[in-house]
C-alpha cells in the first residue's frame, strides 16, 4: 500500500526535497511540476512524485508506461544559476545520480546509454526527460523527470517493447523497496547537483564515463535530419557524443535516438 507519508518524508536535503508533493495518480509529473514551479518564487528542490501517470512523457510525445504500485515516476525542479546553453550537463548529472543510487542500494549493475537512459543487461529500465523554460541568459525553471521501472512485471509492458525494456525486478527476481530507493536517488541528485554548483563539471563527466555502457560500442544515431552509424568514441565537455565514422572522420551528436549495435 502506497502512503503519502512514506514518500514525503524519505529524504529532505539542503536543496533537493525541501518539499515533496505526492500524488496517487496524475497526467505527468513533469507537467504538474512545471505548473507548480511557475507559481513559486523559489521552485528549486521541489519534487513531484506520482504512484501512476496517465500520460507519462517520453521524448517527443512518446508515452512512458506508468502503472500504479510498482515503479517510480517523479520530477525534480531546479533553477541552476548558469546560462541555458550549459544546462545539458544536467542530463548527464541526472543519469549519474540514478545509476549510482541503483548500484549502491540494490547492487544491480545498471549502466547509462547516452545521454541518459538507464540500462540493465542491455535493456531499458529507466528514462530521464528534462524540460526547461529559459530566457536568453538564464534558466527560469528546469524539470528533470525520471521514470524508473522497479518492480514492474513483464505483463505490464506493451508487447512491442518487451525485447527492449525491463525492470530491476525482472532482471534480478528480487523486489526493491521503492520508497527507500526513491530516497537514495534524491540523495544522489543532491550530491551530484552540489558538485555541479561547485563548478566541478569535469568530475561529473568522468563519473558518467565510469557508469556508461555506450562508449567503445558500435552505435546508430537517428536524428530528425540524418542517421549516423559508427563507433561511440567519447563525450566532450558539453556531454555531446563523439562518433568515429567508418571513413575515419568524427561527428558530434547532441540529439537523437541511440541504438547500441549488438555483436
Amino acid at each position: 500500500m502506497v502512503t503519502k507519508e512514506k514518500f514525503d518524508t524519505v529524504f529532505h536535503g539542503d536543496i533537493i526535497g525541501k518539499e515533496i508533493i505526492f500524488l496517487e495518480s496524475t497526467t505527468s509529473t513533469n507537467d504538474v511540476a512545471m505548473k507548480t514551479g511557475r507559481k513559486r518564487e523559489n521552485p528549486e528542490g521541489i519534487v513531484v512524485i506520482a504512484d501512476s501517470q496517465t500520460h507519462g512523457k517520453g521524448r517527443l510525445g512518446r508515452e512512458w508506461v506508468s502503472p500504479p504500485g510498482v515503479n517510480l515516476y517523479f520530477t525534480v525542479l531546479l533553477r541552476p544559476p548558469f546560462p541555458p546553453g550549459e544546462a545539458s550537463i544536467l542530463t548527464l548529472t541526472a543519469a549519474v545520480a540514478v545509476v549510482s543510487a541503483i548500484r549502491n542500494y540494490t547492487g544491480v549493475n545498471a549502466g547509462i546509454k547516452w545521454p541518459n537512459d538507464i540500462l540493465v543487461n542491455g535493456k531499458k529500465a529507466g528514462g530521464i526527460l528534462l524540460e526547461m523554460k529559459a530566457a536568453k541568459n538564464r534558466i527560469n525553471l528546469l524539470a528533470a523527470g525520471i521514470g524508473l521501472n522497479v518492480n514492474m512485471p513483464l505483463y505490464e509492458l506493451p508487447e512491442d517493447i518487451t525485447s527492449l525494456s525491463t525492470s530491476l525486478k525482472m532482471e534480478t527476481g528480487e523486489s526493491v523497496d521503492r520508497v527507500r530507493l526513491f530516497g537514495k536517488i534524491l540523495a544522489e541528485i543532491e550530491n551530484t547537483y552540489k558538485i555541479l554548483l561547485n563548478g566541478n563539471k569535469r568530475a561529473l563527466i568522468n563519473e558518467w564515463i565510469r557508469l556508461n555502457s555506450t562508449l567503445t560500442k558500435k552505435v546508430t544515431v537517428k536524428s530528425p535530419d540524418k542517421i549516423i552509424s559508427g563507433l561511440a568514441e567519447n563525450i566532450n565537455d558539453n556531454g555531446e557524443l563523439i562518433i568515429r565514422l567508418p571513413d575515419g572522420k568524427t561527428e558530434t551528436v547532441n540529439a537523437g535516438d541511440v541504438t547500441i549495435v549488438k555483436g
Binding site: L60, P84, T91, N116, E131
Partner: protein, 146 residues
C-alpha cells in the same frame, strides 16, 4: 572585414535589384541578402555561417520592419516545430500568438527547451525548418507585435 566596408557595400546595393551578394576573402565570408522583413545585419568573420541581411532603403519600411520581434534560440540543438512527429506544429505563419505561448522546442541531449513568445502578436515568419540544427542565438521566428 571592417564595418565601414560592409556599410559601403550595403549603400552600393541600395537602389539596385540585387537581392543577394556573397563575398569570400581571407577566411572571412560575408553574405548580404535583402528580404522583405529582415532588417538586422551581422558579419561573421570566421567563415562559419552566412546570414547577413541588408536593411531596406525606405525609411517608412525600416520603421515598420523594426517593430518585428525576433525570437532566438537560447541553446544549440535541434529545432522541433511540433511536440511530437505526429502532432500539428505549435504555430503557423499568420497565427495569433500570446506572450508566453510555446512556439517551438529546441532539443539538446534530451533537454527539451520550450521557446516561448516574448510578446502578443502574429507569427510573421518561421526562419528554420523542422528537424534542423540551430546555433546559440540563431533567429527562429519573427513576430509582429499586436
Amino acid at each position: 572585414m571592417e564595418l565601414d566596408e560592409i556599410k559601403q557595400l550595403i549603400e552600393l546595393l541600395k537602389g539596385t535589384d540585387i537581392t543577394e551578394l556573397q563575398i569570400e576573402r581571407e577566411g572571412s565570408k560575408l553574405k548580404i541578402r535583402r528580404e522583405k522583413y529582415l532588417s538586422s545585419f551581422e558579419a561573421i568573420s570566421s567563415a562559419k555561417k552566412p546570414g547577413v541581411t541588408a536593411p531596406k532603403e525606405s525609411k517608412e519600411e525600416v520603421a515598420e520592419e523594426s517593430k518585428l520581434v525576433t525570437i532566438t534560440s537560447p541553446i544549440v540543438g535541434i529545432f522541433h516545430r511540433a511536440p511530437s512527429p505526429e502532432s500539428p506544429p505549435f504555430v503557423e505563419v499568420g497565427n495569433t500568438v500570446k506572450k508566453g505561448q510555446v512556439l517551438c522546442i529546441v532539443e539538446a541531449m534530451k533537454l527539451m527547451n520550450e521557446i516561448e513568445c516574448d510578446t502578443d502578436g502574429v507569427v510573421s515568419k518561421i526562419l528554420v525548418e523542422n528537424g534542423q540544427p540551430v546555433e546559440y542565438g540563431e533567429p527562429l521566428f519573427l513576430i509582429e507585435p499586436a
